[in-house]
Amino acid sequence: MSEPLEINVWPGSYGAAAKPRMGFFTDTSICIGCKACEVACKEWNQIPASPQQGFTGHSYDNTVDLGADTWRHVAFIEQRKPVGLDSAGGSLVDAAALHQLIDETGLGTYQEGDGLRWLMASDVCKHCTNAACLEVCPTGALFRTEFDTVVVQEDVCNGCGYCVPACPFGVLDQREEDGRVWKCTLCYDRLKDDKEPACAQACPTNSIQFGELTDLRERADRRLNKLTEAGAEHAQLYLAGDEDGIGGAGAFFLLLDEPEVYGLPPDPVDTTDDLGSIWGAAGIAAAALAGGLLAAFARGRP
């Protein structure tokens, strides 16, 4: 894996070797929360079992989040009704506590009112067009592949951990045993063998769809329109265009509620956009320091 070390730009750096951009379209409206993606991913990539979390009480999610040992994570959200921007929500348990659901009659169940729904969604590294993790990686361990995906070279990573807080989605994490960071590779090794990533292949209901990004985006548009027509008013495509703060993503989602309900940021940005002001401020501060030093001597001799 030493060859593509300095490559950050796709397709330019790859020239003729560049492949079409590949990605995931995760359609959460047909996710059944089986977690086959989590397991298939761990089996193929030989990821150790996560540190024992125990029972979390987060509905059926005992994986909690993405991390070094979880490259796919299925979220479970129990809702009384779609949350939306202007209505209360959160988990049912919170809601139950908040609203004192136990009324005098003893019954306040969806038998009367319905509206119960259970959202499930498989999260993954987004393989951003503008990937902060890759930008901040000082060693070049993170690189952009010929498929326009973002991958960590495990033989280069020195575990500086910079990418961990840099990622606007909290995808990467350090593995305690070996100190390096790990994340979804979009099964780079399988892609090179013309095979589908393990999670997408396993997914029983095709909630995780793999393919060329342009195709996936078209498919997603059709799906969104269909759902919207069917009355799914909060259905939305997340990271499906180029106009967002990360320039679009290789892995994008069809959500049935606002992103934050799934633990996703509503307006993620690649902080590299602000690089000018960051370095500018550092430069000004350095100059101020110089000024301070000079000032300390300018008062004359002691």
């Binding site: 089986c34 086959a36 397991v39 298939a40 089996e43 292949q201 396993a202 997914c203 029983p204």
Partner: protein, 144 residues
Amino acid sequence: MVRSICPYCAVGCGQKVFVKDERVVQIEGDRDSPISRGRLCPKGAASAGYVNSPLREQKVKYRPPHGTEWQELELETAMDMIAERVIGTREESWEDVNGDGQPLRRTLGFAVLGGATLDSEENYLIKKFFSAAGAVSIENQARI
């Protein structure tokens, strides 16, 4: 690569078993299967983890009556002892006829349980042999 079928539920998803150095290294869905089209559930996807589980036992274990710990036993010895137990219990508990003089030709002295995770060929030999031996209490997860 060897073609297989998922050992968990009864949907019967196709599996491809990849082998390297006499060891199963990967099990994934078989895209050719009209049932599963290459897909697997979490259990099916964990099949390699199951066949390679570090908890798998590889040696016979033996506990004598009232023993407090497992002991080692050669497989051949164990098989021989089990054969003796079957013969002995069968002998002791044989019922040839019932009270009306009708034939029974059976033993209720020992019982056999299991099979829903076994192959049909295995069940066939189990049913065939133990029935021939007169055993009647041959039962299965299918009862549950």
